[in-house]
Symmetry: D3
Subunit: 259 residues, 6 copies
């Protein structure tokens, strides 16, 4: 029985969406007929998610994009390496599995080594990701977050060799100084670089987008559903939300709740 996975790039960059889609395809195809993936991006918002402000904006437009599509898919994967707020919002709106690639990458790293480091784009992201790891309950396994001195957009704009060079350099510091045993590529724009970087480092490297597809496939195979107790309970449709100017969002939320 084929399961349908919706992968959402929360920014509007077509280049990054393409990069993501390639990793998604590669990972999905391994499962044969079991997983059928579709990759989309937000219609509006920010061209890349470079921090907390961008995350807030992109969360809004991700919800606008995903809510009308919820019915057509069996699981949702948010392809932004951050503790992206759209995930908790969507888990309220559905009991289908929803996760972001950051959580997936962490879940895949846990059994592979005593500790992991995240190689992120910029020093601005470092404390945000440290906080995200803590929120996800995984800080005991975090060796460090190290940055590669670039923006998220750079990961798909700079020459691939230059991106790799910076990632390997930051990863080496994580392995040697912070004793990381596994490296997580901490940006969706780094998808597809796993083999190249791993071969230079000598430790396992996680492609977060690929991890996202594989963890989602595992949840779909075991019939995992989002708990509707307490944290992710869905609220009643609220008729008073009449002044919402983007009716697409609230109507879709309400329609879903009414099912």
């Amino acid at each position: 029985m084929t399961r349908k996975l919706l992968v959402v790039n929360p920014n509007t960059s077509q280049k990054m969406t393409n990069t993501i889609a390639q990793s998604v395809e590669a990972a999905s195809s391994v499962f044969g007929d079991f997983i059928q993936s579709t990759t989309v991006c937000a219609d509006k918002g920010v061209e890349s998610v470079e921090g907390a402000f961008d995350e807030a904006i992109s969360t809004y437009w991700t919800l606008e994009k995903v809510l009308p599509l919820l019915d057509q898919y069996d699981a949702i994967l948010i392809a932004c390496f951050s503790n992206h707020a759209s995930v908790k919002a969507l888990r309220e709106a559905t009991n289908k599995p929803v996760l972001h690639v950051m959580e997936a990458a962490i879940l895949q790293a846990c059994p592979l080594g005593a500790t992991f480091s995240i190689v992120t784009d910029s020093d601005h992201w470092r404390p945000l990701l440290e906080e995200g790891v803590r929120d996800l309950g995984a800080h005991d396994k975090l060796a460090s977050v190290r940055d590669a001195g670039m923006t998220a957009l750079d990961t798909v704009s700079l020459a691939r060799e230059e991106v790799v060079r910076r990632l390997v350099e930051a990863s080496r510091v994580a392995v040697q100084e912070d004793k990381a045993e596994v490296i997580l590529l901490g940006c969706a724009g780094m998808a597809g670089l796993k083999e190249t970087i791993s071969s230079q480092l000598g430790v396992p490297v996680i492609d977060a987008v690929m991890a996202g597809v594989c963890v989602a496939a595992g949840l779909l195979a075991s019939g995992g559903l989002t708990s509707k107790r307490a944290m992710y309970t869905q609220l009643e449709p609220r008729p008073n939300e009449v002044n919402v100017p983007e009716p697409g969002i609230m109507a879709a939320y309400g329609a879903n709740a009414a099912q």
Copy 2:
């Protein structure tokens, strides 16, 4: 020298905005000429913030509301008792002090007792607030989060006596079973009930909105500024964000960044 404080209710409820404004006025007036407060609410979004989905929506419209006003105020207080994502987004956009009433209430509770409990609206909010307390780094002082079995909107819709009755009941459990030494009223709609509830409980009670004004006043008095190192660094204006349909947000962000 008078300092201007902007208080923002991130939802669209006029009733709740009025409730908040009263606590804001009461607290501000204590400081004489030092603090001049203005209370506004989001123009669009949700009528009340009942969970993670609503927080995401209200964050967007809070940013739209606040960004054009940043120039005119010395500090920003978000009057929603949640770890509201607009705060981190706004700290990226300005070096003026920005905080939400949840953090303020915790900061005021710390010196008053060994532990505190939050009395929230519903069991849906409990894990969200537990997570928020952890994110704010204060979980060692948290006795519990207890809920009063209502919605955020109920706090300003139900009879005041009924609201008080439910809050006292939940607070008693926190004091007796969880050994809370201080109670935090965990919803902006509970503003103004501090004295009534405290007199029935025998432990200090924190009105989060009032705490918000007082902590903001303290930061303004000592000249506190948001650090622009790492976590809250402001990004460069990004010309490519042309496809954002709410130009108000991105233009204001960019204008601010260009100063």
Copy 3:
């Protein structure tokens, strides 16, 4: 490309091995040709693992069983719901993915709710599993460990209805008193009961053996390998280990190291 998964029941009970094998088959078949699973049990040791002593004995005989088979499989799953010591020993002996069903169940629970509880057999297991969760770095998400008042062997000896009745009772306490949002069935002998129990509880329930197959499949799909840096480095063959009376173990370890 088909991947071969070896599932090992570390005790000698054929009944429990059969129970495990059924869940393994059910989960593997979902992936079509991708996963081919084989379920074996230890040849010697204990009939069921009822605590730390049994874990120590069963670890030895699990190693004896698995080491000669390492070459023939792509991943190893230890089907004992404990932080079974054979996993760390095997990760030293190979770079193929190795995990136990306890870790797998936790990894699958994380994205489905704010917290999880484990329903274990006996009060003797409770502190052992609490310690295991801490060792795995997941205690921030643990609501509680609750026991069902039986032995591990009882799970496959008592009438299925009785086993279900006890598990539902213990799970209800976890959900209502400890606020668990997801329930983990904390014994390999409880495999196959997920649907029955979940339907009575109203929260997601994790079948740890099934979770084990699905997490292993995810790791195989993304090419995950055990890091050989620090924690799981393989030691050199040591010629002096001549006095080991079970040459199968050390010879297999050495042969593996020599590759």
Copy 4:
């Protein structure tokens, strides 16, 4: 309505008391008529608090000084940057707000950055302050404690330029190596140096004495009172304490308890 704040330097140094008083005055005056502050020091004890032994001695003499004055003030601020034991003792003796400048500085730092570092006098103070931060429940936000290679007394004895030079140097290490986003000046003798140091560092700097006045003002404005439940319950006067040779302390404590 004017509120009266008593600031107590727990050592006997007049120089340090003067330094403290200047910061107290500067901060108090911002609040106009609201806060009226008085700065005193211990009559006996140690000339400066250089560690745990000095803290113990100075706690005794601080209690002797403050207890007879409790009636005349609305809040008490202990102007020693340590987890000074007089605070907990005084919280037992009154329900008025009592805090030390270390806690105040931390509370003001929390909303301004992801992490803070404390720049203390000597390496002897480092573990004491790390322990104090943990006791105050704030270690998740602590980047580091760094020392400036001097004694507490040096801060008011050495040339001001030299003190600044050492503090800037230690702060730079905290910012660059430990990723501190806010710096706390970790000695009451460093009061008044905030602007000079901040301008050289580029991150916010907290003057702990000034923070103490501002946090106390905030608590006074919101009517904050010390909880008398459990931790800070006041004991009954105990008639058998006849053999206390410093009757000032126990008599004042007893008189207070009898109110």
Copy 5:
């Protein structure tokens, strides 16, 4: 070679000193000639230590008592079940082993069970001891602190049967509800009750005073010395401390430092 242990009751109660001395003698005699113990109490201060205020007062008089005797003993044991501040002060003043009975009881409990509970006198002590356990770095093993509804003085004033009855009752709650595996008698006045209480509970019970002697003996036997690096470095004698009215303390401290 006989080693001399000084045991200090920090309060002035002769009754409690006698109770302590009996446990000290019983424990010391087991070691034959190896340990020779002397039990003294403070000359002034409080008749019993009932909270943080009393701890502060008793710390001062404990230092006055112990400092002149430091030369004559090989180790110091403070017989107050609290994180008594005299210990850190004394560790600065000597490199001989110094500890209090609370730390000793915890150290002896660790190898005997997965978790321990402390049965303390009153609910006032509960948060103080929870904080103390955290400061000592042992909170991961703490099941709970439960109180027996009395004062410290009651432990040596009430009928022994009544004291035992209350302790057994509180201990039962700790064992049954909090899952404690070991019980610590959390007051020096409870010395000598271990056997009686243990026989009624069925779990090991720790007499903290006896534990104190045994842990001290262990440190003396292995030649353990207080580290003088950072935390417990001794300060230089400071000639300016002329205004200390209790010359006994500072003179003894100075004399010790000059050695």
Copy 6:
């Protein structure tokens, strides 16, 4: 009354057993007649314990060695500096005190300094010991684990001067960079080097084997017994364990349980 302590080296190296026995004798003799120690090693298994695999193998053979001897001794000390799994297994099998030298060394270090570092053999041991410290609940006091670049076997094979040189070098890094105040020699093969290393470092050094004897002596003197509640409850003899090929282990376990 003399108490009998059984010390077990879990590997088969006679050299290491001799090294251990010397420290055991030195420590035991301090207690005069009170402690009578016997040092044995495993009959089969591994020549040295170099990681998790070796720990698993040596646990089995340690149990085989110790179980038949349990009746003849009052306490058991496992002389391997790891969180050796035999300890938990043995605590299930007896209520006599059982501990390993790693736990003993930590317990003795706690009162001597604010933090400790472990100097281990190799970088492979580092994460294993970090994990062990966490499992023992002592990570708040851990400054670091540093390795000396050798194997466990090297500690008794290399020239003593070379071993000392490497240990001093690694310890210096721990003291200077990680701010360790106490050093733990993290291998049983390092027994007897305490004085030499301490004199070069200037901080206290713990000989784990000696610490083991002293902590065991302390527990024996205070009558400490392993709690049989929950964690270390002994299971019923299980007649079905007929297929265990090493009847010595299961028979001894059963015999013990039947007492």
